[in-house]
Symmetry: C5
Subunit: 249 residues, 5 copies
């Protein structure tokens, strides 16, 4: 079985996510956090167990990333939020390329329920196979999305997403937390040996965020992949320290 130790600490995952530039455009950014170096700096000082970039940033800021010694997680697919039809994100980086860039793990998004679900599940197969051949963990961003899932229970979709990760061979599955702690516990159970990290999502107030993370850890998740709540914060290292205390102990 693929080992997660390069991107976890005592089995816990604390990832700094920064693939929003492609997914949402620079609207999420300000003058500071628009700069990948600022993010790498936070990751380094904050002691994250992984930092998530698309190929372009992983390549252009490779020296800075290597110097920081933060494990690199390369996101292998993505899309802009401009196209308004059924969501699809195709491969934008190969496993081989990610390894050349020094990746300790790779990520791939699947929009479950989308008209193009089959294409993403199928493309993922090759990526998962190649990554595991090289001993590289694979993280799946599992997001139910598209017109087919519009009126479905978010809670049920959460556990379905978690289970899908196990069935298709993900090592870690990144999902959004919907429902209460008992729903999340069920999702964790559904994922079996596949581990779960929770997406940070849009910026929340600190108290709410920290409480949520406590719940997440109680539910059996191994951590979070968090972005905006950190680098949009006025004091990213302070909030980092508080979260780290909960997750990494």
């Amino acid at each position: 079985m693929i080992k997660l130790n390069r991107i976890t600490k005592n089995g816990r995952a604390f990832f700094l996510a920064y693939d929003q530039g492609l997914e949402h455009g620079p609207e999420d950014f300000n003058d500071k956090n628009v700069n990948p170096k600022y993010i790498i700096d936070i990751a380094k000082k904050g002691g994250y167990t992984g930092i998530i970039f698309q190929k372009g940033i992983a390549e252009k800021y490779n020296k800075e990333i290597k110097k920081s010694k933060i494990p690199l997680i390369v996101k292998l697919n993505g899309k802009t939020n401009l196209f308004k039809g059924e969501p699809i994100a195709r491969q934008l980086c190969t496993v081989k390329e990610a390894i050349k860039l020094g990746a300790a793990a790779v990520g791939y998004t699947i929009y479950l329920g989308s008209d193009y679900e089959d294409e993403m599940l199928h493309e993922f197969e090759k990526i998962q196979r190649e990554a595991h051949l090289k001993g590289l963990p694979v993280i799946v961003w599992a997001y139910p999305r598209g017109k087919s899932v519009k009126n479905k229970s978010k809670t049920k979709l959460m556990s379905y997403a978690a289970r899908t990760g196990l069935e298709i061979g993900a090592d870690i599955i990144k999902i959004s937390y919907k429902g209460n702690i008992s729903d999340l516990k069920w999702a964790v159970k559904s994922a079996g040996k596949t581990k779960i990290v929770i997406a940070g999502g849009i910026k929340k107030n600190e108290k709410e965020l920290l409480n949520q993370i406590k719940e997440i850890m109680k539910a059996g998740c191994i951590g979070v992949a968090i972005g905006r709540n950190i680098w949009q914060s006025k004091n990213p290292l302070e909030i980092t320290r508080k979260i780290k205390k909960i997750i990494l102990k």
Copy 2:
């Protein structure tokens, strides 16, 4: 001709199916049967002639599977039930990968009559060829599905599905039992040298289930691929024992 002896006993097949996690989500599960280990344990104690998993479970629970000595059948394609359009399930595991995982056979679903029938039939060609090259039996889940077949006779579709299995080179075809015993006999005849196993389907009361299995065997099928009726049962080993008595004798 491909030998079935690794996944049959005296020519009879008694498969424990557990690909529902991807196909239906964890809604089919409870706290016990959500865990693949529980399923492997039933398969082992119950003396099944094969256990059916998607790649992810086959990989993450490989030690447990190998230890159980239950022959592994890897399902090579699948989909969630979230997308509401014409059904398509693409390849999620290669034959080569399945062999590495220790597979004694592989499975593939074709939705006959779907808008994407041609893609699945075509994708199956490569899988069947590669599997037979390695001496691996191929099981086809043949399910007529989609708007084109909506008002067609279920009975005629059953025998058509069975025949399709023969024509495209399946070694075993897994179909749903629709109609009476004489319809099923015709399906068995239509399949020629290709063997038929019947899908268990949703949970039934025990008497009904056992009677149905008796009919199935009388009709000339070689067995069943059963899931929910076993692992949703309060006493899976008891129902297993009763079915085994009918099938394996």
Copy 3:
């Protein structure tokens, strides 16, 4: 130029077609002719110059086929009749695989005028090239089909189909006979050095059938590819003998 002598006798072709199981389902069959062995037996005793199977039957009944010494023609694509949209039949067997099965020729259906005509013409290119590289004749089932050809003259479509066979490199083209003998003569001329065999089609009374075959031969076709009119007959060998007398002389 590719030699046809392995599947013809004195330049004449008398093929027993049995790909209906996939194309129409077992509805065409009864308790006897549902069994491929029954068909192989007719072919053997009747002295056919070729027998047409899909890969699955060619593989599972390979011993019986080889023993019969009837030249094997493997149909390389096919579809069910369940899907109700524009017709498409994708590759279900490779040329290499057909050769391994002992094929003396291969067949491929193209639905001319279908929305997917371009895909079939393109897929055929590879098949034709590979087959000719190995010295294997290629038979095209050329069927104008789909909404674009709905109101077109059947007669003109017949000669167009014949010509298409020549232009794309078929060695034999199998068409349906529509119109009168002079229309068919024109189709034969249009096909140039590509030979024509006529599809038997649905069961007719004997007299009508024999008269039609006489016309076919007079028009310059090299024979027929006939199925239902033989194996749905009460006395397949008797009708075979009568047709053979016309075709093979």
Copy 4:
């Protein structure tokens, strides 16, 4: 740069086109010209600088073509006129295969403005590259077609087609003559170092045809690719002689 001398004489091109059998069906033909040998004979006696066939004819009549010594131009894609949707013609012969058949050049049609323009431009890339690697000239049939171009100026489309030929790397571009001589001169200029030949189109009276060809040559085109006006003529060699006088001098 690719040399055109194998398919031109003093830089002039006089091609006999005979790919209509696939594009229009045998409706264009009569008892004589339906036979490729008749066409090869005209090409030989008429002294054409090239003869255009699809793969099937190039293969089946290869001896006759070689004996005639007329340079062979293999058309690498095509379609029937049966399908009524947006036009697309996919590859039906490879460059390698064309070379094996003795081709001195290859041809490819692109329907500019069609919904499938991108697929044809993309497929052409591979063909152009492979052909040039082997020193083989590439002729593009550039036809604006489809619902997007319905109300556009034919004259502007003519020069756009010519320019496209240059931009994508064609050595010769075959277009239809629309507008007056000054429009055609502009098309010739737009094509730069890419040469232009004009398609003959449907049968015209002799005087009109010869005048048009004079204009074509004055405009700077290098010749014509003509079919129906020759082989539908009662005296093909006479009309050939008259055109040759204008083109080859």
Copy 5:
């Protein structure tokens, strides 16, 4: 990191764009500038740091290009403006081919927000990877286009396009300047280590153009990729000289 020195001077880029023949047809041209040699001559005398051609021109005018010593930038995809549906431009030249033609860089257009965004992003991945393997810089033409982006803020789209270039691994991104200088500064920041050049667009009066270029440079762009404003000018070298003074200093 990929070096840009072959196509820049003191880090500044001054590219002469001439891919309009495919994108718009010869309508943009007159008797002089329709001729690639005229353009190459301007590039040479004007001292541009790069000249942009499609494969066809790069191949047919290769001697002239090499003689001019102006670095060649080969545009690897393109389309006509005839098709009226959602924009897509597929690969029309390989990286390998571009290198054979002497390219110092390659370009690729992505229509962000188009229904086919995913196909272009995915195709680009291979190009970027191959180019970087050979040390070749990659320029992305990033144009938000299609029905999904119709009512979006042009300014926000500009910075999104710039950011996308960074995320997917472009070395230079070519965008259209929309909004004011502070918007452009934000786009430059969003692009991080990826450099920005501005597209010239349709012909403007000289004063307006020069002022715009001053702004562009102040905003932190490295230069322009300009076409029509140069070669449609009555005195291309004079306007070139004025722009060069601003950009290259």
